[in-house]
């Protein structure tokens, strides 16, 4: 347990000392400030755009950070041979990979919290009240990031950063469209196509489950049962993906 914690803290430290992350967070903040300008120019739904663009920026920049950090961290350890002295100690490869994952989660949590605080303040100064619908949507964004970074770690456990990045991004995009995928198969009339789309529907993460942005912006109440189910789904999906990552990582030769 201590080894996992040490690796997680070290991963977090590496991310924090990496300047790319700061520029990404900075861009997200600029996007949010830009929404103030847009809001002035919008007719009708005033100040909804601040929340909409704010949540959207936190989401998309969070995904970029999750992918960039996720695909690079394991690869860099192997490429720069920093993994050698670690694995030559009584540390399991599974401990290493899980430590890396928790380190990424910690990084994403801090980064999401920071950007969320900024959005809160922005909305507070604009509306004069704390928006109680935002935290749930923000929390679910974090859960989505947790799933995406697990997928990134999975690919980077056997592939190069470029390919891992492409695959993870593809899965992120398709992950928001899986419902359409299933509908498409069901309506196609072909049994093979239907079986195939159903297979992918269950294999790929259904990321749309974690999207509560519209609910937050339009203040629509969300059933708590739906939230719990989504959390359980995310947990099981992450455990599955990390198990597969560990299995492929265990077999690997570090040449």
């Amino acid at each position: 347990m201590r080894a996992i914690r040490a690796i997680a803290v070290n991963t977090f430290r590496e991310a924090v000392r990496n300047k790319i992350l700061y520029s990404l967070v900075f861009f997200a903040l600029v996007m949010m400030l830009f929404s103030l300008v847009l809001d002035q120019a919008t007719v009708g739904q005033r100040n909804k755009i601040i929340k909409d663009l704010g949540l959207g920026s936190i989401n998309i920049f969070g995904v970029i950070i999750a992918i960039v950090v996720g695909i690079n961290l394991v690869y860099k350890e192997i490429e720069k041979r920093t993994i050698y002295p670690i694995l030559a100690k009584p540390v399991r490869r599974s401990q290493f990979l899980i430590g890396k994952y928790f380190g990424i989660l910690l990084t994403l949590a801090v980064e999401t919290l920071f950007m969320s605080a900024f959005l809160f303040l922005l909305v507070f100064f604009y509306e004069g009240v704390f928006d109680t619908h935002l935290p749930l949507a923000l929390f679910m964004i974090f859960i989505e990031l947790a799933v995406v970074s697990a997928v990134a770690i999975f690919f980077s456990s056997f592939s190069t950063p470029f390919l891992s990045g492409m695959f993870t991004f593809a899965i992120y995009v398709i992950g928001h469209l899986t419902t359409y995928l299933q509908e498409f198969g069901a309506n196609s009339g072909s049994a093979i196509l239907k079986a195939l789309t159903t297979f992918f529907y269950y294999m790929l993460p259904n990321l749309e489950r974690f999207n509560l942005k519209a609910e937050a912006v339009y203040q629509i109440p969300v059933e708590s049962a739906k939230i719990y189910l989504s959390l359980l789904y995310a947990f099981l999906y992450i455990v599955m993906v990390l198990t597969l990552s560990v299995l492929s990582f265990e077999r690997r030769d570090f040449k």
């Binding site: 000392r17 041979r81 920093t82 050698y84 670690i86 694995l87 009584p90």
Partner: protein, 311 residues
């Protein structure tokens, strides 16, 4: 008594990613390293030294065969509890300071803060990095990286220390420091297993050596059994004699080289030295130096290498 390392029929074949072409890097290696010794693992580049070390440290998996560290199979994680490892040309997290890195290593071993602090203090003293521990490792020189690498390898007080090319890339001072640390480890009763192609370093400190060529073990044994202790040849440097004078005693000499007014002659038998010196006195020439040459590891290595290449 169990050996520190026991390698049994270890083989490794790498497959290239696209064509699945196989390359045998190590074939049927059998080796045993007694505990408490300094063991030199010698071989030219590409002989399979690093592959063997990576197999022992669990970084790659054997194609066949197995090995034991103090009786524990390398497939099990417990085999690494009494082991320390210094990789070749070590490279560590450049964004960490030396102190943070050593602290991280201590955490990997599950040590408490107070025992980590105590150990770090001790190690910094041993590898002479006191005063540089708060620098980020990106600012470290090659020699400093090697020394912090040694410190991390010794964190768990290992019974066995495995080092991959610990002297390569270091200047003479750095090499002497590494040699001193290795000897210090031996004094503490530890086993040191290191690979090198710098033969003079191995000759200075090793109790036993093994020579690996082309993935096959060519020779293993104690250095004194290996090397003929007899004088192989004698080199004498002379001044004040001409070519013509020397031609009188030509049959006695195995070679001669002219260097301005100095002449280097080589004798292949010890008893000829006396005759030569008598002749030099008679010709009123001067002797500048006499150097007896014993068989060195290098001679042996080159011999094995020639045989290995032919085979």
């Amino acid at each position: 008594m169990t050996s520190a390392i026991e390698i049994k029929g270890l083989s490794k074949t790498f497959r290239s990613e696209f064509l699945q072409k196989e390359k045998k890097v190590l074939s049927n290696l059998n080796l045993s390293v007694e505990s408490g010794t300094i063991f030199g693992f010698l071989g030219p580049n590409g002989a399979g030294k690093t592959t063997t070390i990576k197999l022992l440290t669990g970084l790659i998996h054997p194609t066949s065969g197995t090995a034991f560290i103090f009786g524990k199979s390398i497939r099990e994680i417990v085999s690494r509890e009494k082991m320390g490892f210094l990789p070749e040309r070590p490279y560590f997290y450049e964004y960490l300071t030396g102190l943070e890195f050593l602290n991280f290593c201590g955490e990997l071993f599950g040590l408490s803060r107070s025992s980590r602090d105590k150990k770090i203090d001790e190690l910094l003293e041993l590898v002479d990095l006191k005063g540089s521990e708060k620098m980020q490792m990106r600012q470290y020189s090659k020699g400093m990286l090697q020394r912090i690498g040694l410190a991390q390898a010794l964190f768990n007080d290992p019974e066995l220390v495995i080092m991959d090319e610990p002297m390569s890339g270091l200047d003479p001072v750095g090499r002497k420091e590494v040699r001193d640390i290795i000897l210090h480890l031996k004094d503490e009763g530890k086993t040191v297993f290191f690979s090198t192609h710098i033969l003079s370093d191995a000759e200075l400190i090793c109790d036993e050596v093994a020579i690996l060529i082309g993935g096959t073990l060519r020779n293993q044994g104690k250095l004194e059994d290996f090397l003929n202790p007899k004088v192989k040849s004698i080199e004498v440097c002379l001044r004040g004699v001409s070519k013509e004078q020397l031609s009188q005693i030509k049959p006695m000499l195995s070679s001669m080289t002219f260097h301005d007014e100095r002449i280097l002659v080589c004798l292949d038998r010890e008893e000829r030295l006396e005759k030569l010196l008598a002749w030099v006195a008679q010709e009123k020439a001067q002797v500048i130096s006499i150097t007896p040459r014993k068989e060195t590891l290098e001679d042996l290595f080159l011999e094995e290498y020639k045989v290995g290449v032919k085979a």
